[in-house]
Point group: C2
Chain length 372, copies 2
DNA sequence: CTGAAAGCGCTTACAG
DNA sequence: CTGAAAGCGCTTACAG
């Protein structure tokens, strides 16, 4: 038996009869031409025998890097973010990076700067700086405003599904009305620095839905819109309005709701109770579409015979509904993957170009020509 | 201007005209009685002025702790795991811990021990040990077998939704049939060490459903079961079988499926096409119940008039369906919170008792007396 | 081809 | 009440 704790590179060196430097070189994979193959072999076997794993804290300190990226999402409860994480983690792992996820603004306001409240079962040995949030090399921020990056002034960041960034130094909302059109383009500024973006082609997707409906013969369109302050929903509303305006005789009505079935049912109901009832309901989200289904059924309206309904996102729910939902598939996992790729590029000094991932119109059974 | 990089405690010390030790004491909150209030104040203001944030890698190295916990889940795509994370992260944050999530067995087989494949956009400076997986103080493993902990021999761990652990040294599946009944009880062993558990009262939940159905008058029950090798599904099947057997005249048929609407629709269809068609379908999962709805509708069967259907979990989908689904609510966020609490206890040397969180029967509109 | 040494930024005895 | 020093476990010039 040697030391009690977990073995260090020093232990491996001793076991192999070499110096710590040699161990580091060999295990770090930069030994070719500098260490003899025989020595390398013996180092490896010593490491294996001891079950050696390098201490990441020590490496991080030495290297000034943590090989960890923070993924910020508004919530993990929405089915959309699981795949985003999965895509990001997949490419991160390929490059030896880990992904930490945090929800914002929720738990980012956690322990930083506060005394630890309540009766702690484990008392932190440190006071105001307990948050581990800072131990990261980069951040991926999904579906939020640039403000979210305020606390990461120095940290390389990529914005996902957050729209084209506003000009340097401007608050993003202030620039809202005048912002460049529909599709997410161009790196912009968060407090003056450039932040690469990866977005969905939300506008094209919404236009696809509008054209599909118009092609079927619909003219009176109702928009059941999510009352959520995110770029993607603003873009959806804008694109739908533009697309309906382009249809001769096209008329758009709108009703807002929260993203849950009950709220959506009520909002859709308001539209359906109008004298000039729409023949098609375009919903901002698949779950909202489920609410629209309920509103329709409550009024004895058949889908798609009396009323066409569309969703957005194509989550599992879309095919669980009956009839199955016509919707736009958003490649969420791809968003995470491309975002991570962009961030890794940024980390190695490149300037990733902004990317837009097209959505795909998925026509199922919830859309048909309007009743005569 | 002083040094270029981010300020260190040494910089703060210099700025405040004190030593590094004093800075550490003050900022670490352990100065009372050891540093004069005036000095403490000046240290704090110097830190603020410089925008000082301690380097977590250095602290981790010094302390031998990372204040980071790994949450392992089978997938982030299922709607169940978002809340688990949220609950765990909430209590972690209160104690200055962060939560990293990893899916297993998927991305845990990542870069460890492999050369980095493909054309890396960022070449890791280190070879075989690139994985950050080890930089953790503890692990929370949800919905998986004890084997998942094999690579964390020394790391404190808590198993969530994974059932009562098997006796020390035994593979968990080997012990399956003879394992102690239905509800998740008792710390067990993973390769000889004790692992605390937090589970749902799945058996009680399933029994609640069976009794609800029996009370309505149902005798022929069909089980649309998830073909997924997880404790929770084995427990659901076992509990339902026992509960139906306890009903005079109770008869149980079963059909297996994957957890998706199409597979579930087919499995439910097989049950509905039998000569002795069940009058109620008990589904292992809300999404499976959605598939059962489709099978029923395809056969012109009204829910709940001709057929009662129940789900399990109570995810968003349950109220998006029509009729709204009778199901069992599982407190997923609470599972994460309690699991993290147990892990924190473990980390501070306590032995958390095993916990079982009761499910709640939610009666909605998908269940009614069987047709005459 | 190999080793001795410095140093990343902290925290914590220890001495005064 | 305050400071000088050691050391956590790595990696990387630098010397041989």
């Amino acid at each position: 038996m040697s030391a009690p704790g977990r073995p260090t590179s020093k232990d491996v060196a001793q076991e192999a009869g070499v110096s710590q430097s040699t161990v580091s070189l060999v295990l770090g994979g930069k030994w070719t031409g500098r260490v003899s193959p025989a020595t390398a072999r013996s180092v490896r076997s010593a490491a294996e025998r001891l079950g050696y794993r390098p201490n990441p804290a020590a490496r991080n300190l030495r290297l000034g890097t943590t090989r960890t990226v923070l993924l910020m999402v508004p919530t993990l409860t929405a089915p959309f973010f699981g795949p985003v994480y999965t895509g990001a983690a997949r490419v991160a792992a390929r490059h030896g990076f880990g992904v930490v996820v945090a929800t914002w603004p929720d738990d980012m306001n956690g322990p930083v700067g506060d005394a630890c409240p309540g009766p702690p079962s484990y008392t932190p040995p440190d006071g105001p700086f307990a948050s581990p949030d800072e131990a990261i090399d980069g951040v991926l921020a999904s579906s939020m405003a640039v403000e979210a990056l305020a606390r990461f002034r120095e940290t390389p960041a990529v914005m996902l599904d957050s729209g084209p960034n506003t000009p340097a130094g401007l608050a993003p909302h202030a620039a809202g009305p005048g912002a460049p059109g529909s599709s997410g383009h161009g790196p912009g500024g968060a407090g003056g620095r450039l932040v690469p973006t990866v977005d969905f082609g939300v506008a094209e997707g919404m236009r696809g839905i509008a054209e599909h409906l118009a092609g079927l013969g619909h003219r009176r369109i109702g928009h059941v819109a999510a009352a959520v302050d995110q770029w993607t929903f603003r873009a959806r509303a804008r694109a739908l309005a533009a697309a309906v305006a382009a249809v001769p005789g096209g008329v758009l009505s709108r009703s807002m709701c929260a993203i849950d079935a009950t709220s959506a049912k009520n909002a859709a109901g308001r539209l359906l109770d109008r004298a000039d009832r729409p023949t098609a309901l375009v919903c901002d989200d698949d779950l909202i579409a489920a609410g629209a289904y309920k509103a329709a059924r409550a009024r004895g309206l058949d889908i798609p015979g009396d009323l066409s309904v569309t969703g957005f996102d194509d989550v599992l729910l879309a095919t669980a509904l009956e009839p199955e939902l016509t919707t736009v598939r958003l490649p969420a996992e791809e968003l995470g993957a491309q975002g991570m790729t962009a961030l890794l590029d940024l980390l190695s000094g490149r300037r990733p170009a902004p990317r837009v991932l097209p959505g795909e119109l998925i026509i199922r059974d919830s859309t048909a020509p309007p009743p005569p």
